[in-house]
Symmetry: none
Subunit: 500 residues, 2 copies
């Protein structure tokens, strides 16, 4: 078991977009998955979603991920749940179909195994009616793509036990998700009521030929959508209220709610003509991009947005940060092991952040030095330069740097820096860093640096002291046997004429 | 004029959250702003918004930003528009008030000056009724914070001229925004119909005690809000339809539109009790954070999300990327004045930002290279490397840098960089930068760099071409007479033993 709270084996009923997403999320957290879907193409489709999920997760986090679970496709619902300690139903949104499925598996597994439905809005009190053990049944409604979005709405039915809710919430948290407990059982729960309201209005805009699907999408993603990702609706409006906050906002924009700004009273009829129009506009927007390709683009955007919000510790970014700490805590050693030894093993790992990229599409040159600076800091920590040493009026300052750019790093690239101490005396460190990127270990850049030990009180060079000096000497002696790097000692010049 | 399309002076009527946001966006693009608002606190509030906007813009982009425009607060609407070549009305959402304002300024400025209203949903055909020159009036509806979100809905009234729409769209584009032309004049235009639909449903959820404001916000920002920022609504749903796309999605979820998942038929009455509840829940969510602080947190999130999407060249990120290329191409004027002459006069000026300072109390070493990189960009612009040149598949990449640190720069220090072209041929630039700080012109650092001209399509070195190559040769010839800097051609080494 990769983390406390996770089941050992999960049974999944249905392998559409949502079921396949659940499969990916569980498998990539080390949980074995048993899966049933009558679609003869299910294995291929799940495999494709899983490929996209692996790719997304590798970009999302540097935290240690457990070994993948095993995926088994089986041929009946009853077989699916055999030996499982958690079950999720993700069948089409038809109440009778779901009730039949739930009742069928209910009678074949231990009554303490929780069964969750992925329904977007059907009431659990109705879905659990034909079950012998309705207390174990609840709704756990996720959002597409399930392997990236942290939200899962948890809604109990009339007969659901509190223990089942707790168990399900623990499973979702262990998967890095954020369960939102729906306290009042209503159709559509919370999120889908909001989504449906927006979607219904969007359909009217198409129906009335006010806008195309592409214009509606731009109206969302170039404006309020950016705020929604960061802060949701109410908090955005609180800020829009200015110094007087929410009350002022409500006073100013409350009246508009009474104006005819939305098509309140009706639903557009999905005539063949309207369906054709939406499909044609959507095809035009997609511009030939297939669904898997579009999923990858969407995932890249979501990964980038999640990472951006993680840096702010806000919303879904805060959920991701918590999950990474949990993953790190659960797998001791790995990062420590890397830093154990500077000879050939990376002293520092990093990742190219989106904001590092300049107009050439690669990381700005100063960011390479930032990463090398982090590696130098890693070296200094290893030499015993800690807060106490700094507070005592000692530090090392870089006095010279020679950077060579040999390749290009793009947003999301993983970087590793290995560091060699070329020479040292009591006041100086002469170091050589190599930065490699990607899986193939291409050298992207090197940095040769001279650092001077300073008495920060006097503001001038002074010998390093005590344990730090001893460690400097020991490391210099060990590294003295390493070959001198090709690019060490270089100067810049144009002696040779340019080749044609 | 900082960029083609921008007015020289804009007149702003109203300095609430939206008006102040417009002021910030124009000022930071080098446009002079004349502003009227009856609020005696207007100057302070605009100043605070402007501070936050400056902070956000510095983080958003490394592209060269023109010198700030001048802000003038005046005491009447008529005085505001005097001498302006673009006018924006951002008064409260009351039709009569707006009509009166628009009619008042209409009679005092040249009829070819466009007047745009920021209204969220009032019809331009009604707003322009009392105007003598209604053809110049239209709606340009922005989104808060105006200085960061790119969306602006442009809606013409019955009597608006096509030329006015074109002029306004050009102004918005020059500000880095993305005008969405609303083809059919309807209440609420496009975006606010969608926002209002979601907001109305959210108010019902609070009213019916289904969820708190914090739960509603989480239901948005941990789920669909992340997708909305990246792709909007229709494109997300197309993907959710799986391999069968939009038609399958509509078939599967269309029926749910007929189910009672939203409160279609009514608007919750904003009773005192409901208002109090929303305000109390919002206060709890804010947890003591003031509006300016919360704005900064929101801005940091938006900046991070915009940068994340820029790396994917999607949605608002694609708009930002286009704007950066335009800024890069089109900042003659201020920076050119400085760059007029590389011999001794600074090619670049900057200031040490607080977030640049590391644990040693000085700017991090990578920030020196960031400033030198800006100076190199300044040199390249002077050599004619603009957006068109870059779009044509040409650029200069830094291949080597030798930095020498001779002093320390602290937060708030003004920096200046002078640049000497040591040598050049058709593929290479060998440059030497000197950074001085403070009033006494102490040399803080030097950077020697080798840049290679590349064909970015082929990804390899190639000769510079046309006007750029001619300018390179001319500058190299002029600089050939300058003495070689002491620190040019250095390498790093420890041949000498350290002095005691």
């Amino acid at each position: 078991m990769a983390e406390a709270g996770l089941p050992r084996t999960v049974g999944l009923l249905g392998a559409g977009v949502i079921g396949a997403g659940w499969a990916a999320r569980f498998l990539l957290h080390g949980v074995d998955v048993r899966l049933f879907d009558p679609d003869p193409e299910a294995a291929r489709k799940v495999g494709e979603v899983l490929d996209n999920a692996r790719r997304a997760l590798r970009r999302l986090t540097l935290a240690p991920i457990p070994a993948e679970g095993d995926l088994t496709l089986v041929s009946s619902p009853e077989e699916t749940v055999s030996g499982c300690d958690f079950v999720i139903e993700s069948a089409p949104e038809r109440e009778q179909l779901k009730r039949k499925l739930l009742a069928a598996v209910d009678v074949v597994i231990e009554p303490d195994v929780v069964i969750a439905s992925s329904t977007s809005g059907l009431l659990p009190s109705r879905l659990q009616r034909d079950m012998r053990h309705p207390e174990r049944m609840l709704v756990g409604h996720p959002f597409n793509p399930v392997y990236l979005l942290p939200l899962v709405e948890v809604c109990a039915g009339e007969r659901t036990s509190p223990a089942s809710v707790e168990r399900a919430a623990a499973v979702y948290r262990a998967l890095g998700m954020s369960p939102l407990i729906v306290r009042k059982e209503i159709d559509g729960f919370i999120a889908d009521r909001l989504l449906e309201a927006l979607w219904r209005e969007a359909l009217w805009l198409i129906n009335d030929d006010v806008a195309t699907v592409s214009e509606v999408d731009d109206a969302v993603r170039l404006g309020a959508g950016l705020r929604w990702a960061a802060m949701g609706s109410f908090q955005s409006y609180r800020i829009a209220g200015g110094e007087d906050g929410m009350r002022h906002f409500l006073a100013q924009f409350g009246p508009a709610l009474q104006w005819p700004w939305t098509k309140l009273t009706d639903v557009p009829e999905l005539t063949d003509e309207l369906l054709d129009r939406i499909v044609a506009q959507s095809d035009e927007q997609a511009d030939g991009m297939g669904v898997r390709e579009m999923e990858r683009l969407r995932d890249d955007c979501l990964v980038a947005v999640l990472q951006a919000l993680r840096a702010q510790d806000v919303g879904a970014g805060a959920v991701l940060a918590r999950h990474e700490r949990a993953l790190l805590g659960g797998v001791p050693g790995r990062e420590d092991g890397d830093a154990e030894d500077g000879e050939g093993r990376p002293l520092h790992r990093g990742r190219v952040q989106p904001e590092w990229v300049d107009y050439n599409g690669h990381a700005h040159e100063s960011r390479y030095l930032q990463v090398f600076g982090d590696a130098t800091d890693g070296l200094l920590r290893r030499l015993g330069v800690d807060a106490a040493y700094l507070d005592g009026g000692n530090s090392f300052f870089t006095v010279e740097t020679h950077l060579s750019h040999l390749g290009e790093a793009s947003a999301g690239d993983d970087l590793a820096v290995t560091t060699q101490l070329l020479a040292a005396d009591e006041k100086r460190l002469h170091v050589f860093h190599r930065m490699t990127g990607g899986n193939d270990g291409t050298v992207l850049a090197t940095a040769e640096q001279m650092l001077l030990h300073v008495d920060t009180g006097l503001g001038r060079a002074a010998p390093a002291n005590g344990e730090v000096l001893a460690r400097v000497r020991a490391l210099a002696a060990r590294h003295a046997t390493l070959p001198l790097p090709d690019r060490a000692g270089r100067s810049i010049g144009m002696a040779r004429p340019a080749s044609a």
